[in-house]
Symmetry: C2
């Protein structure tokens, strides 16, 4: 069996934790399995590096930030190889140059294109544990790139896909995927299984356990994912195409407090306006989340959408700069929003789900600012201060109150 | 003009110092010159990384130590590019993979073989300051290697040679090359010029300002070197083939307290014995410094030589393991030695130099343990505790006591 194991920054936060991860990998190796380990930078390393850079230059070039940040994972992988050696396990650490981790050229938010697996297969063939830097890639200019938030998950899934791994295990500091964030909803339950689509919606809605690109990629290549704890041996949550267990109505409730709403009012009501607007934002690397279009006054229309808080300033500037081309009345933003979503493949065949969610919010007196639905997801925007309260109310309505 | 500037770890030890170096490079750039900057890791970074690694595994594999340490220079170069950007100067940082810095495969002590200058020339052509990681290379397995102590000097000289630079400036925390280490000999004077050969002998004898491999390479390719301070604008010391200023009898006095003596006693007196012994040590990467052979008893000979303290254990083990092949009586080591040398092209035509040195030692009651001479160098071994005293006595004899 070939197993890809990914450990996040917390799991390799200090020497002791590195040794723990090494022991865990050694155990897998000693069963006779081939093991590929993907690591993030240790603990807060990336944040510290970014802080130093910004102290020198608040507008540090993104190319150089990537050059700087990639040292973080390289440190982790080298120390892990050193730790495995101390356990008598042959290991080799490899960075993005050494595994030819090709990405698009966008610094800070690149996408993986191709992995040259030759070196990895060669090292596995000589019975070494192969430790690969997560989060980083190399673009066509032979420059380092990084994959954006949670990018190490994507690295792990991409490697699992390229190597046709038998499993891709994502280790975190929680026991698996929960029906809601257990830090906010004390009664949250661990799911034993979840589908790619549900996981994808949960990830996009801020559930934070897995990076959404990694789930997309796992779905595309059929990579069997397991989300489990690096701190204990509990079974974790399996993410796959179709789940076998009897399904609950919904799988989980997610909260994203990092969202902001932008509204473009009084757009000309003619074909292609939405295309122009979102194409413009995409070209400028602004990730747009939920979109809502409504009819405005006097043959105009209003378009609202959500973005990450940190993209608001940039998005507004881009829209303002293109006022003539887009022909709108005004653009406004609202940062006082939280995004609360419920996700579940079960809801397609149960029309009462949305009503049940809205009722839960009504019962605790929370006003809904905006609603958006997909086949397996319902998202509402509420005031930021209401986010956690909304999440708890909805969770109780669907899952009841444990103990 | 194309100028290569190398700054050591102390010069880039914190954000403020990084900004200072950036300003200095920006000044050169603004004169219209092409600038290539070579950097070491910040301050004590390399030591801290090594300490962490050794805490995890005292016998950490050398390949992984190199993988770990190379993050140090990459951090420096990225931060320097970020600092230059804040001054409005276009800059790009490059690591050993990006400039194809090919080395031999020996981890921890590799030698440079070839540099692909295409990328650097391309970046210079677009009027960028190019910042290259010192100390590191890539071997034929596509693995990181490091060049050993002072390796960044070698990187700088190699780049200057490959790019046919007009000057290679080595910045340190002293004002240039002195007649003796000013921290030990208060009356030491700065030299305005020195030859490659003298510099080489000073470096080999532990004067520490420049790495000896870098001087060898500068001599081989005729790279004009300047050693100067990163803290002020004083002129520094020019290192070149022939000096133009009127020469003093000797150029400097050097002290190396890191030496140890190994003696192999009772070797069979037959041809090829010295070859066998030193070939064996070379193959095992033990650097041998001065060698002395004397006639032993009963048709045997004794060979003594000095190595770095850290190589003693290894060297003794290798020799013991080959006792049958080498046929000797016993091997002993002495760590209580300091190496004191005088260096100067002037001494070839002045037969009294050695006598003057020995007299100076006799006058302060220091016993000489071993003597070795070359055309432009005389080295003596004394007890470790006598090292600094010997250096001062010799310096006073040749340069007089300043004030």
């Amino acid at each position: 069996m070939l197993i890809v194991k990914k450990f996040g920054g917390t799991s390799v936060g200090d020497q002791e934790r590195i040794m723990n991860v090494a022991r865990r990998c050694a155990e897998e190796y000693s069963k006779g399995n081939d093991v590929v380990v993907v690591l993030s930078a240790m603990g807060k390393t990336t944040d510290i590096l970014l802080k130093t850079a910004r102290e020198i230059n608040p507008k540090a070039p993104k190319r150089e930030l990537d050059m700087l940040m990639t040292t973080g994972e390289q440190t982790s992988v080298a120390l892990m190889a050193i730790a495995l050696d101390s356990l008598g396990i042959p290991a080799v650490s490899l960075n993005a140059f050494q595994v030819r981790m090709e990405t698009t050229s966008v610094y800070g938010n690149a996408r993986l294109k191709k992995i040259d697996k030759e070196r990895i297969l060669h090292e596995l063939a000589s019975r070494k544990i192969v430790i690969v830097t997560g989060f980083q890639g190399v673009n066509r200019y032979e420059d380092y790139t990084t994959l954006g938030r949670g990018g190490s998950d994507t690295t792990a899934v991409a490697l699992a896909a390229a190597l046709h791994a038998d499993a891709c295990e994502i280790y975190t500091d929680v026991d698996g995927v929960f029906t809601a964030d257990p830090r906010i909803v004390p009664g949250a339950r661990k799911l034993s299984e979840i589908t790619y689509d549900e996981m994808l919606d949960l990830a996009t809605c801020g559930a934070g356990v897995l990076h959404n690109r990694s789930v997309e990629m796992a779905k595309k290549y059929g990579v069997p994912l397991v989300v489990r704890s690096s701190l204990n041996n509990s079974e974790g949550t399996i993410v796959k195409e179709v789940t076998s267990v009897e399904r609950m109505l919904i799988s989980g409730v997610a909260l994203d407090e990092n969202a902001a709403r932008i509204s473009v009012m009084g757009l000309k009501d003619e074909p292609g306006i939405a295309f122009k607007l979102f194409n413009l934002l995409a070209k400028n690397n602004v990730n747009v989340d939920i979109i809502l279009q409504s009819i405005g006054r006097e043959k105009t229309k209003d378009i609202s959408f959500t973005v990450n808080e940190e993209d608001v300033e940039n998005a507004i500037r881009i829209i303002e700069e293109n006022k003539e081309r887009l022909t709108f009345h005004e653009v406004t933003s609202n940062l006082d929003v939280a995004k609360v979503s419920i996700v579940g493949a079960g809801m397609t065949s149960n029309p009462g789900v949305a009503a049940k969610m809205f009722e839960a919010l009504y019962n605790v007196g929370i006003n809904i600012n905006m609603i958006s639905t997909s086949e397996i997801r319902i998202t509402v925007l509420v005031k930021k201060k209401d986010g956690e309260k909304a999440m708890n109310a909805i969770h109780e309505a669907f899952f009841g109150n444990v103990d």
